[in-house]
């Protein structure tokens, strides 16, 4: 009944007419030439063997149209659909026909599709869809080991080599015209099933296909286009199979799902994250086509499809996805063979030791509710207040001055958010953990130049001992502490490759930049150097830093560009005297039993040895260190240039930049050089490692010992800096001012505090570097100058104008100024407080002035820039599955594998 003669073979030639001859010759043995029709969609003339008929169609015609046209006039019961890139193996047609012979309920059969190039690999063998409508190849790109050969009953088969009953083809009107590229065959089989026919795949029938169905229909297009077409087809199918009532809701969930998948893909930094979303939207939007498809389905459907059997179950989908991930990971790992610095037991033990040392050095801060002194002031007690300083264009410092937003406020807010319930805990925590964090940073940073844990140990330990860290902690230089922790990490991120390291570098560079603007030229030089050395994309990593700093840069340029480089935070004088810059040491060393001159010479010797070691290490196999050292040397040049510039001021003291941060990069290079050289040979290691660490510890001893010698400016303090009475009053009037007067020998210091007193975020860079006495400062000065003597000055109107509610004399109650202040009308003495003598001024507290100006462009721009960098920095791959041998040398790993 069913014979070869009843089969019409339609060969659709669209993209590979050059393969047609081969395809036809392989068909020739299985079907008579007269039953073969070539549908030419290629737009070129093609020659066919005699007996084979040919129909020519427009290039834009679909495969389905081509088949229908080719069948015109042929009186055959079955259609075998082939393409020009498909070569049926011998016996394929017979095997397919055998199914029809035995099973009259079968409407469509398909062969096992093998890859024409790797003929042992299955390209397609039956299709299905998941519960949520994704098309799934039952076997895709798998080695053919006969593992699917027992399978027959499937939801669908691919178009290549598909054998269809003619009546079915006609009844269903071929493939859906709305699915010209993808899933046309799948949808066709689905409808056949719905119409009561069975679909089977026949493992014994094999065809070799050179390209996939999608490529055959659409051509060699971008991966994004593929994803888009697949999403479009899926949306179309899903909506067509549903009832019209549910469809609008399903359309919404489709779009939402695609959006979520897009965001996830974006976060995972996978290519073309939103192609899926675009395709879905495009698919959903084709309401007319969907309606048409739905009508067509309704017309032919006779029975529901057994979804539980034919659809892919959720569990199976999960398993398939897991397999896919594993395959990708294996692929990635096979490329990733470069050895990396591991942490190892040495790193873990020594980090524990660093934690202990840090806690011992920070013992003064245990239980502190806030820190102040030196460059530190408490943060506001509420996280929303801390964030409100981000982008603020006004600061209450100096009685209130306009101020450009700067990135340091963002850094503070980000830090404070770590302990959102009490922002000051974050600062206390940083002070307690700075030592172990520096150790970890040093260790990770050492990975830029070494894979040896012993080298990393030397670098990390010496980095933790450097006085730039300990002086910063003692003097409350928050920016310098952050920079000390961030610099090694930034170096490591900069020398690495990939989006994750670029994201990390962007964040770290921004942190360094906003903390110590004087280092910004070094950051720029480093990025340019890296861009030139084969990573041009890294230039984009400067975007977050610039996005966080542009208003401040413009502000500085409009006054004096040099002012931009002033340190951030409350300006503070260096109490630990800086050493001559030539020594490359940020503080005068005091070595036990040696006087200052000899100590200075000792430091010079250490610097000399370190410099020579670095040069030697560069010459003997660590060229990357050379790059780091050359860039870092620019920091020393900056330190020389900025050394004595009075960039900022606090009261009447001029404040210069903190040299320690500028020397940090070069010390990272020098320590790396010392460490690399010292650990290069086993013989010297035993002496060199303790030698270097002892040397650095001895010349850093003064700085490290500050917590015990009482030289620290930082101390634990209350969160508020005004008397409790004032604090209570300012609950209702947040802007109420307190004029704090501190008498000195021959002058007085007058400070106008708003609300609960100045906080860390109030000291913007603009406020710290202002050059002239602000108008409000003059008003404050006039008021204060007249208050502390018995004068005829009318205090109340002047205080009212400045919204001053309190006067606080920071002196003993027996100070002569007490009676002078009391002699003025309109002041009521509240009494003595722990902060001094307090008066209430007879002013009406004005409503909170609306100085809440905010540069929203800055806030949004900065947020986006940081967000993009942060997303880039999220590691998307699991940690490597390999045993990291501590002393691994390049090359041996491949041998092990």
């Amino acid at each position: 009944m069913v014979s070869r003669d009843s089969v019409a073979v339609v060969v659709v030639s669209r993209r590979h007419p050059e393969r047609l001859t081969k395809a036809l010759s392989s068909i020739a043995g299985q079907a008579p030439a007269t039953s073969i029709v070539v549908a030419n969609l290629s737009g070129t003339e093609i020659a066919v063997p005699s007996g084979v008929s040919i129909v020519t169609l427009a290039e834009s015609s679909s495969l389905s149209d081509a088949v229908t046209t080719a069948l015109d006039g042929l009186d055959k019961d079955l259609v075998w659909i082939l393409r020009d890139d498909v070569e049926p193996r011998a016996g394929a047609l017979d095997a397919l026909l055998a199914v029809f012979e035995t099973s009259p309920s079968v409407g469509i059969v398909g062969p096992k599709q093998l890859d024409a190039e790797f003929t042992a690999e299955i390209r397609e063998m039956g299709e299905s869809i998941s519960r949520s409508g994704f098309a799934v190849q039952l076997a895709e790109r798998e080695m053919d080991q006969g593992q699917y050969d027992r399978q027959s009953d499937v939801l669908g088969v691919g178009e290549a080599g598909m054998l269809v009953r003619r009546e079915l083809w006609n009844e269903l009107r071929g493939f859906d015209a709305a699915l010209p590229y993808v899933d046309g065959a799948l949808d066709f089989c689905y409808r056949a099933r719905a119409a009561g026919w069975r679909v089977e795949v026949v493992p014994s029938a094999a065809v070799e296909t050179a390209v996939s169905s999608l490529e055959a229909n659409l051509g060699d297009v971008s991966a994004a286009r593929v994803v888009r077409e697949e999403a479009k087809a899926r949306a179309h199918r899903v909506l067509s199979y549903l009832s019209g009532l549910v469809a609008p809701f399903r359309a919404l969930t489709l779009i939402l799902g695609a959006l979520v998948r897009g965001i996830v893909r974006f976060a995972q930094k996978r290519p073309h994250p939103f192609a899926d979303f675009g395709g879905t939207v495009a698919g959903v939007a084709r309401a007319g086509l969907i309606a048409e498809s739905r009508r067509n389905i309704a017309r032919t459907t006779t029975q529901p499809i057994d979804r539980s059997r034919l659809f892919i179950t959720r569990a199976d989908m999960t398993r398939r996805r897991a397999l896919e991930r594993d395959a990708q990971r294996a692929l990635r790992e096979s490329r990733d063979v470069e050895p990396r610095l591991g942490f190892g037991p040495l790193g873990a033990w020594m980090s524990g030791a660093a934690l202990l040392v840090g806690l011992i050095l920070g013992h003064n801060y245990f239980g502190a509710s806030a820190l102040s002194g030196g460059g530190l002031l408490p943060l506001s007690g509420s996280i929303s207040d801390v964030w409100s300083a981000v982008g603020a264009t006004w600061t209450p410092i100096a009685g209130g001055v306009p101020s450009a937003p700067d990135g340091f406020s963002v850094l503070l807010a980000a830090l404070a958010t770590l302990t959102w319930w009490d922002p000051n805990i974050a600062i206390v925590g940083l002070w307690l953990l700075a030592v172990p964090m520096s150790f970890l940073a040093g260790w990770i940073g050492a990975g830029a130049v070494t894979v040896r844990s012993s080298t990393a140990f030397v670098v990390a330990t010496a980095w933790t001992l450097l006085p730039s860290l300990h002086i910063s902690l003692a003097e409350g230089r928050l920016g310098a502490v952050v920079a000390h922790i961030a610099i090694p990490l930034a170096v490591r991120a900069l020398v690495s490759r990939g989006a994750v390291s670029a994201g990390w570098f962007a964040l770290l560079a921004a942190a360094i930049w906003v903390s110590v603007p004087a280092l910004s030229p070094v950051v720029v030089v480093a990025v340019i150097a890296r861009a030139v050395a084969g990573r041009p994309a890294i230039l984009a990593a400067l975007i977050p830093a610039v996005a966080l700093e542009w208003p401040r840069m413009l502000d500085a340029i409009s006054t004096n560009p040099l002012l931009y480089f002033a340190d951030r935070g409350v300006p503070t004088l260096a109490v630990n005297p800086p050493l001559d810059i030539l020594h490359l040491w940020p503080v005068v060393p005091s070595i036990p039993f040696l006087d200052e001159t000899v100590s200075g010479i000792a430091v010079l010797v250490v610097v000399g040895v370190a410099a020579l070691s670095t040069i030697a290490a560069v010459a003997f196999g660590t060229p990357r260190l050379g790059g780091i050292a050359i860039v870092a040397a620019s920091g020393v040049a900056l330190a020389t240039a900025f050394d004595s510039l009075p960039l900022a001021r606090i009261a009447d003291q001029n404040v210069t930049v903190f040299v320690g941060s500028l020397l940090d990069p070069v010390w990272f290079a020098l320590l790396s050089g010392l460490a690399v050289l010292a650990t290069s040979a086993t013989i010297v290691r035993a002496i060199a490692i303790p030698g270097i660490i002892t040397m650095v510890a001895v010349i850093s001893a003064t700085a490290i010992a500050i917590p015990f010698t009482g030289g620290a400016l930082v101390s634990s303090s209350a969160v508020r800096s005004v008397p409790a009475y004032v604090e209570a009053e300012t609950r209702t009037h947040r802007d109420a001012g307190t004029l704090v007067i501190t008498p000195r020998e021959s002058s007085i210091v007058a400070e106008l505090q708003r609300g609960r007193g100045a906080t860390m975020t109030d000291w913007t860079a603009t406020a710290a570097t202002r050059r002239s006495v602000a108008e409000t400062e003059t008003a404050v000065a006039t008021l204060a100058g007249n208050l502390i003597v018995e004068s005829g000055f009318d205090v109340v109107p002047a205080a009212q104008q400045l919204n001053i509610r309190f006067v606080l004399l920071n002196a003993k109650p027996t100070n002569a100024a007490v009676s002078a202040i009391a002699s003025h009308d309109g002041l009521t003495q509240v009494g003595q407080t722990s902060n001094g003598v307090l008066w209430l001024v007879d002013t009406t507290p004005s409503e909170d002035s609306t100085h809440s100006g905010r540069n929203w462009l800055y806030v949004v721009g900065g947020f986006l820039a940081v967000l993009v960098a942060a997303i880039a920095a999220i590691p998307t791959s699991l940690p490597r599955r390999r045993i990291d041998d501590d002393e691994l040398v390049l090359g041996t790993e491949e041998a092990d594998a």
């Binding site: 003997f620 196999g621 050359i630 900025f642 007058a750």
Partner: protein, 453 residues
Amino acid sequence: MPNIRDLITAIGTAAAFGGVAVLSVTGWTPFSVDAPAASTVVEPEAVTRNIVCSGSVLAAVADSTTWTRVGTTSQGIVGGHFVNQFTTDGEPDGAIITYDSTPDAVAATEFASVKNDIVAGYMAAECGDPVNSQWLVGGSTTTGRDAVLTISNGSGVDARVDLEFWGANGPITAPAASGLVIGAGESTSYSLAGFAPAEESPVIHVVSNGAPVWATLQTSTVRGLVPGGLDRVVSVDEPATNVVVPVVRQPDEETVGPLRADPDYSDTVTLVRLLVPGETDGNATVTVTPFDGGEPVVVSTALSAGKVLDIPVDELASGDFSVTIDSDVPIVASTRFTAHSTKSSVTDMAWSPAVPARPGPAMAYVPVADSTLSIVNNGDMAATVDVTTNGESTSVSVGAHSSVSVTVGRGALTVVSDTPVVTGVVVETQNGVATLRLPVEPLGARSVTVIAH
């Protein structure tokens, strides 16, 4: 062997290191920034500045509750005028003086030369700006020694004064020593013996709550029936770890030697009185340096907190000395020295208080011609001091860690220095000696430097 690329990088590294080393050595500073403006000089409007003088020499002649004026004082005024007097026991006494033209250019000295059956000696003390805290270091309340504490309130409101006392054996709990109300425009005198009886070495802290006051301690001595010794002690500065007494005049051994044979005259020895008003014991080094450039005498001593220590400084040659006291805890200090005139046979003593170093301008009215101005420079830099006396200005150079004395005339004396110096004047008459401080204008008398931020 290193490969050529690594070698080139190494050379580049060396060049970079060398480059920055050269920049450092040559002090490469291509940029300059002007220092920011920081302070504002404010001239307060319509400043009120009154300096006050305590008034007559008092003694309790009939009984201990009534004061008798046993000597009148004169006030020499520079750059100011009387505005009022205090009411003392219902009668006017003392003086309230205000400035003529500018609030920083007014000074006055109150002086008296007394020689009667009750009191004999010479006193001179500057009139000063009322303050809220004063430390009176001097006097004695042993037999024959009298001390009168006078507190004057020149302001328009009452002052509530608390007194604290220390003696050789520690703090003295005195009855009724707190909450003393000194009415506006009133001056009240108290016998120190009433608070600290039979105390050889008293120190008084006068603390006023509310209106500032001017407190002085008049000390007088009667040995048997012979009066000899009068002075008016004014406040020293707040406790500090380094204090300087500008001048002590050691009398001639030939004149005082014979006197000291009499045990009644044992208190004519020069002495340094020290007190640690705080809670912590300490150590002090007293350096007595002669003005003529001789070797200083150095005495080290332990200080017990709260116990007044009198250190006799004998074995000094005659002449002028400065006394520097370095301590590891804040102290107050003063010195006492004696003079005896063979012509008038009056024995007098003077208390010379420690004075803080200040650049000035400092002003005084010198009541006697040919007095001695002492200038002590304990700083590390030489000071150029402009001294204006008799209407003439002279410039005096005082080297680092050295002292100079200048003879000054009667009337206005102004001292201005380019670095902080300690100054004092010794006035000597037939009836005795006295020392004067040169008050500087209080903060804000004319202009206030305000650092606002």
